[in-house]
Structures are given as structure tokens and as C-alpha cells.
């Protein structure tokens, strides 16, 4: 297939994942804001924007953090280059670009999503509609992934799309953890103090991991367990470990199609190995922040290698 088309598929799924992650962040933010007093709520909304990496653009427009401003900015603001609406536009644009490499079912799912989301985001979103809007976005993503799983040939186009999903997801989860690392880093002061379970809950909800975590850990909420869950538990589909298991699978499949391994395969093997050798104690000994910095840098290096190995650009 064409390198440009492979690039289109890869980015189509990166943008889809990004939009979905923003929707999850909003969801978690909403949940928390509803249970807080106004001052704390403002802090929470600031943290949502910060975690999404949109603070710079947001503060160019708004001086305060209110829920309504924040969700409208993240959902549909023209001044926000990463708004969910823009992301879905890019998903569709890349799908059009790769139109002859994707199944009709996938195309129709993506196109249908775009029509629905574009319609829902035509006007500013009021309080009584925001949950519904976020739900639509998450459903849209699920629909696209379902169409992909159920209708695409397991060939190059599928694997490039999946690579996009897991590169983006790993990056997003690492960033969310990093933003919250001051909460997660166990320190002396933590011993004996009662944890702000709402904050923990939000971290888990940001990656839709709250229920999964409870399933495994019952009521035991603590930093180590949460980090272990989000970094090393390869049963959870948004953990770093799981992302890398799947990324490696898809890169291996590409190498098989091509009959040769690229630089991305070597980098992937190294990164995967490092991750599976680690325990949560190693990570805390090294420092969570340092670990995450290293991880995102190596994730970006793998992404670059994929683009080069498969000639995404001229």
C-alpha cells in the first residue's frame, strides 16, 4: 500500500483515540465537579485543561475556569486546535484520504459519527446536554473500533490503524499519570494521612479504569496499586503494558507482511522488554516522573521509526 495512505490510517486512529481520551477526561472532570464546592471545582477544571495539555490556548481566551467554559472549549472551540470537533474532522479527513484502504463499514461509521457530532456541537453545549454529548463521543469511538474489528482485513491498513491507536493511548495514559504524579508519589506525609479518594477516583475515571480497578482491588485504593494497575497490568486495555503488548503484535504483523524487520521492531522489542522487567517498586525507586519521561520519549521514538520504516512521508 501507499506510504501516504498508511500515514492516513495511522493518524486517523491517533486522532480518534485523542478525541476519546479528551472525552474521558471531561467525563471524569464533570463527575468530580458535581461533588465539590465551587472553589475546588474551579481547581478541578483547571486540572482537566492542564491534563489535556490545552492550558496555553485556553488561557488566551479565558481568565477563569468554569465547567461550561472548559467543556465548550474542549468540545468545540475554534481557538482550540485540539478540540474534539477538530479531532473528529481530522479523523474523517484521514479516513477520506485512506478511503480505498478501509472497509465501507468503517467509513460509514466514521462519516456517520462526524455528521452526528458536528450536528451536536453546532451550538454551545449547556449543562443539561454535556453528559449526553460526551456519551455520544465515546459511543462514536466504540462504533469505529467495532467496525474496524468486524470488517477489516488483517493486513497492512488494519495494522497501521492499530499502531496509531496504541501509540496514542500509551502516550495519553503516561501523560495523565505524569500530571497526577504528585498525587501518586507516596511520600512520608502520605503515611497516615487519609487519601483524597475523589482525586484517585478521578485518575482512574480519566482512563475509564475505575470499575476494572475495583474488580481487581476491591476497596483498597492506594497509589502503588493504582500505578501498578495503569502501568503494568496487561489485563487492562488502557494500561501501558497492554498498549505495548498490542503495539508489538501489530508491528510484528507488519514485519511479517514485509518479510523484514525495521528499526521500529528493534525499538519496540527493547521498550517492551524494559516494561515487562520492571516492578512497581523499581518505578517508584527510580521516580515515577522520571520513568514516565523516559517512557514518552521512547514511545515517540517508536512512532518516528514507524513513519520512517514504512515511508509515511516523501
Amino acid at each position: 500500500m501507499l506510504g501516504r495512505t498508511a500515514n492516513g490510517l495511522y493518524w486517523m486512529f491517533r486522532y480518534l483515540e485523542r478525541a476519546e481520551n479528551y472525552a474521558r477526561l471531561l467525563d471524569a472532570g464533570l463527575r468530580l465537579a458535581l461533588t465539590r464546592d465551587l472553589t475546588t471545582a474551579e481547581e478541578e477544571w483547571r486540572s482537566v485543561i492542564e491534563t489535556a495539555g490545552q492550558r496555553q490556548f485556553y488561557e488566551r481566551k479565558h481568565a477563569t475556569y468554569t465547567g461550561m467554559q472548559v467543556w465548550n472549549f474542549m468540545l468545540r472551540d475554534k481557538n482550540n486546535p485540539s478540540s474534539i470537533l477538530t479531532m473528529f474532522g481530522l479523523v474523517r479527513q484521514n479516513a477520506r484520504l485512506a478511503r480505498n484502504a478501509i472497509s465501507s463499514e468503517l467509513w460509514e461509521a466514521i462519516n456517520g459519527n462526524w455528521l452526528e457530532i458536528d450536528e451536536q456541537l453546532k451550538e454551545p453545549v449547556a449543562e443539561n446536554r454535556v453528559l449526553e454529548t460526551v456519551a455520544t463521543i465515546r459511543r462514536a469511538s466504540t462504533l469505529a473500533h467495532g467496525a474496524m474489528a468486524g470488517s477489516m482485513l488483517r493486513e497492512e491498513p488494519y495494522h497501521f490503524g492499530r499502531c496509531g491507536t496504541f501509540i496514542e493511548r500509551a502516550d495519553a495514559v503516561a501523560r495523565i499519570l505524569d500530571m497526577k504524579y504528585y498525587l501518586l508519589l507516596p511520600s512520608l506525609s502520605y503515611v497516615g494521612t487519609s487519601l483524597d479518594t475523589g482525586q484517585w477516583d478521578q485518575v482512574l475515571r480519566s482512563v475509564s479504569g475505575d470499575r476494572a480497578y475495583r474488580w481487581i482491588n476491591a476497596a483498597q485504593i492506594d497509589a502503588r496499586r493504582i500505578c501498578e494497575f495503569l502501568i503494568l497490568d496487561d489485563r487492562f486495555p488502557r494500561s501501558l503494558s497492554y498498549c505495548y503488548m498490542l503495539l508489538r503484535e501489530n508491528l510484528d504483523a507488519l514485519a511479517q507482511v514485509h518479510g523484514t524487520e525495521g528499526r521500529c521492531n528493534a525499538l519496540m522489542r527493547g521498550a517492551d522488554q524494559r516494561l515487562s522487567d520492571l516492578t512497581i517498586d523499581d518505578i517508584f525507586d527510580q521516580g515515577l516522573h522520571e520513568f514516565l519521561l523516559e517512557f514518552t520519549a521512547s514511545n515517540a521514538a517508536i512512532a518516528d521509526a514507524i513513519a520512517q520504516d514504512y515511508r509515511f512521508l516523501a
Partner: protein, 475 residues
């Protein structure tokens, strides 16, 4: 303006009788409930929007994707009518191809005094770079769209030849898909020729035109200007249906004397390029140096016989309306036969006598620019204003060679579905013709365009026209 009786209607004859072509259809239609048809009518648009069959329009602010309105009453042609049409189309298209070869070689037709040399000199689509070059298989016009209009039972006229890059075939295919999805029972009652194998036939026809260096399975690519092009949907659709690659100029480069595309494995040669990029953008080294849509050096490869470009550069000459006015001579010159399909009577404003006639009768004529297309830059005298007519009078006097005029034709009508029942609207017909070295292949069907406004004669989608599914009945 005029009574309905002035026009030939495809469905109804005199006294409201149903023509044979529509006998089965009308039997079915009469048994349908109005509210069911209304619902289907509304669903059709949603369906087109969902599948993304749109064309892009660029306004002042942002790009907009529009739908071409679809009407669910088919245009039906009998097997006998179709046979007669195809013979005429085959004759015309083989003459066009021979004409192109002659134009870029000895120009016998000019030497014989049958075509004025000035027509070539003034023709912007004529390419000096094509002189002496014979494309692989000798085919210039791989895909041709012949625009036909009808005025009576046996009176079909050719209104335009589209030999540059005829578009609209995806609508022929998608309209049929929609009709089958909406009214499956109809296709069980009426024997309609299939059009769905067009992409396969196109791929086969193009493969037969591959250069000698191609292997047994020539590699075909559709070259598109990109996702912002108005017809991008069609480019992607055809590539998908043919199993061909959809490439942009930036995907291609000349490698070892071949045109090659950048795949995930590296550069791999392409044998046939079905290009939907205009001539002047094809090769920045030969034509427009600012073009980023084309491939530097592709014309050198082409000249050396290393790639097939469909349609060949320079075929736009045939789309010129001054050349069109000579088509009866052209057909006779190259086939030795009288044309089976007549032209619409055409006055060339460059000729003094004709010009005087045109200027005296502007209010009754249709005036067109010789290089124009898409229904732009034309005057429909009877439907126009006095100012517009005077504007054209000046234009014609200033640059007579730039205009031709034709009588206002009584285009046939075909009913469309409206909320208040069936209503006649004017239609034309564009069959798609595939040319390979030893075959002219015409898919039984085509694109029927319909003017949605009552009384309007302009069917172009850029001017608010719609489309219909086109049925050719089986014998």
C-alpha cells in the same frame, strides 16, 4: 412559457398513454402508496449523506460538501433504443480517437481542407508536446462521456463530447445501488441491464492499454488532485472498486525510467495512470512549473512509452465546441460513413454569415463559450433578460471565435417525484464509453441529469441539476 405538449416525454405519450419503456414500471408505481414513496424520497438523501457521496464546493468561508439531488423515478431506455444509440456512439468515439491521432501526426484532415487550421491554433487544449507521440496501444480517449439529448421518439442528438476527464460515473453506480436498496421488488419485476460491473470493465480496458513494459497484471493507479477536489469522492470510489491505488502527485516520482509510487515497501512502478488531474498540472517540467499536483518528468517517461496516461494529454481538443461543430465532417472523414448520431445544429460566430444570424436571433438561441464547460458562461436566450442578451451581443462582437450558438432544443422530459406527485422535467443522458486497442465498450446505462426547476433546460449539477438512475431494459 410553453405547453407540455411541445416536449417529448420519456414516460408518457399523447393522451397520457404510457410508453412501452415504462409499461412495467408504471404498473408497479400505480400500486404504491404516496406516503411510502414520500418516506423513501426523504430517506434517499440521508442515505447519500451517510455514505459520503458528496462533491466539494468552495465558497467564500469554508469548504462545503454538497449532495447532488437524486430523483427516484428512473429514466428508462428500451433495448432497441439502446442498440441504435450504441452503434452511433461507437462510430463517433472511434472517429474521435482517430481524429486525435491525426491531429498529433500528419493532420490529414487539415490537409484535405475539411477542418480549418485556425481551429487548432486557437485551441488551448492542443498540446505541442504530443506531436509525433503515439500513446501505448494507439488509444487517446480511454474514457469518453457523450452527452445526448432527445427531442422525439427516434431523435437523439449529441450535445457535447467529453474526452478530457468525463466525470459522474460514480453517480451512475451509486444511483443504481440506492434504487436497488430502496425498491428491491422493482428489480424483480423489471428486467434491467446491470451497470455494477463498470469498474471491472474499466480496469480491464485500462489494462489492455498498458505499455509494453508492463507485466501480465498491469498496475493501475488513479491520480487525484486530492481530498479537496470537487470530484474526490468519485476518484476514491473508482480506485476502490477497481482495486487500484489512489495516488496523488506527491506519491509518484520517476525512478529508473518508470513512474513509480511510494509504497510502504519503497518505490514500485505503475503501468497505467488514470489521471483526474488536468493536462497543465501533469508535469511541472513540461507544463505548468508551479504545479504540485503532477509528477516531474512523467512526460519523458510517457514519450519513451514507459507509462500509459488515460486519457492522453491533449484530448481536451475534442471538448472544444468549435471542434464539436465539425464532428459530422470528422466522423465522415475517419469512418467513411455518414454519422449515425446527429449533432445539434451549431452556428460558429467566427463565420460572418452565422454571426449575423446569431446576433439577429439571440433571444431564441443558446450561446456557449467554445472552451466552457459545466454550464458556466452560457446564455439561454428564451430564459434570459434583455441586459444579459445585450451583454452577450458585446461579447460575441468582441471575440466572435470564442462563441458558438445553438437553437434552444426541446429537450425531452422525464417525470420526477415531487410532494404533489409526478412532474415532468428536462433531462439529458451521458453514457460512458471505454476505449481499448481492439474494443469499444459501453456499459448499458449512464448518467441522466435532470433540471429540477420547472421549465429549466440547464441540467448541470453546478447549476442546481439532479440525477436519476438510468435503466436500459433487457430484450
Amino acid at each position: 412559457m410553453r405547453g407540455k405538449a411541445d416536449f417529448f416525454d420519456e414516460m408518457h405519450g399523447s393522451g397520457g398513454s404510457v410508453r412501452p419503456a415504462y409499461a412495467d414500471y408504471c404498473k408497479w408505481f400505480d400500486g404504491q402508496k404516496d406516503e411510502v414513496l414520500s418516506r423513501k424520497h426523504a430517506e434517499a438523501e440521508t442515505n447519500f449523506r451517510k455514505t459520503g457521496i458528496t462533491f466539494n464546493v468552495y465558497g467564500e468561508d469554508e469548504a462545503e460538501e454538497r449532495l447532488i439531488p437524486f430523483d427516484m423515478v428512473p429514466r428508462i431506455i428500451t433495448a432497441g433504443e439502446w442498440r441504435r444509440l450504441t452503434r452511433g456512439i461507437e462510430q463517433r468515439v472511434s472517429a474521435l480517437n482517430a481524429f486525435m491521432h491525426d491531429l498529433y501526426h500528419r493532420q490529414e484532415i487539415v490537409r484535405a481542407g475539411r477542418l480549418p487550421e485556425a481551429l487548432l491554433r486557437d485551441n488551448e487544449a492542443w498540446l505541442a508536446n504530443m506531436v509525433g507521440l503515439t500513446p501505448p496501444g494507439g488509444v487517446y480517449t480511454h474514457i469518453v462521456g457523450i452527452d445526448l439529448v432527445r427531442t422525439g421518439p427516434d431523435e437523439f442528438y449529441v450535445l457535447e463530447d467529453n474526452a478530457r476527464t468525463p466525470s459522474g460515473v460514480s453517480y451512475m453506480l451509486e444511483n443504481r445501488e440506492s434504487m436497488m436498496a430502496m425498491f428491491p421488488e422493482l428489480f424483480m419485476r423489471v428486467p434491467v441491464e446491470t451497470v455494477s460491473d463498470y469498474p471491472r470493465r474499466l480496469a480491464k480496458s485500462l489494462a489492455a492499454c498498458a505499455p509494453k513494459c508492463a507485466g501480465p497484471n498491469p498496475r493501475i493507479a488513479v491520480l487525484t488532485p486530492g481530498i479537496y477536489n470537487a470530484a474526490y469522492f468519485e476518484h476514491a470510489f473508482l480506485a476502490d472498486q477497481m482495486g487500484a491505488e489512489l495516488v496523488e502527485g506527491s506519491d509518484l516520482r520517476v525512478v529508473n525510467g518508470r513512474v513509480a509510487m511510494r509504497t510502504t515497501h519503497g518505490y514500485e512502478p505503475v503501468d497505467v495512470i488514470y489521471r483526474r488531474v488536468d493536462d497543465e498540472f501533469l508535469d511541472p517540467l513540461t507544463f505548468n512549473p508551479a504545479s504540485v499536483l503532477g509528477v516531474p518528468g512523467i512526460m519523458d517517461v510517457y514519450r519513451a512509452g514507459g507509462v500509459t496516461i488515460a486519457n492522453a494529454p491533449g484530448t481536451g481538443v475534442c471538448d472544444d465546441k468549435a471542434i464539436y461543430s465539425f464532428m459530422p465532417e470528422i466522423v465522415e472523414f475517419y469512418t467513411g460513413e455518414k454519422p449515425l448520431l446527429p449533432n445539434v445544429e451549431t452556428w460558429r460566430c467566427a463565420d460572418e454569415d452565422s454571426r449575423q444570424y446569431v446576433l439577429d436571433n439571440l433571444a431564441d438561441l443558446v450561446v456557449k463559450e467554445v472552451h466552457g464547460s459545466g454550464g458556466y458562461g452560457m446564455l439561454v436566450g428564451p430564459a434570459s433578460t434583455r441586459e444579459k442578451i445585450e451583454e452577450f451581443r458585446h461579447k460575441i462582437m468582441e471575440r466572435p471565435e470564442n462563441y458558438i450558438a445553438q437553437p434552444t432544443l426541446s429537450l425531452s422530459t422525464c417525470p420526477i417525484f415531487t410532494e404533489s406527485g409526478l412532474a415532468p422535467r428536462h433531462v439529458d443522458l451521458r453514457p460512458f464509453v471505454l476505449v481499448s486497442p481492439d474494443k469499444i465498450d459501453i456499459v448499458p446505462g449512464g448518467l441522466t441529469r435532470v433540471a429540477l426547476e420547472e421549465g429549466s433546460l440547464v441540467v448541470n449539477s453546478s447549476q442546481g441539476g439532479g440525477t436519476k438512475d438510468t435503466w436500459v431494459l433487457k430484450d
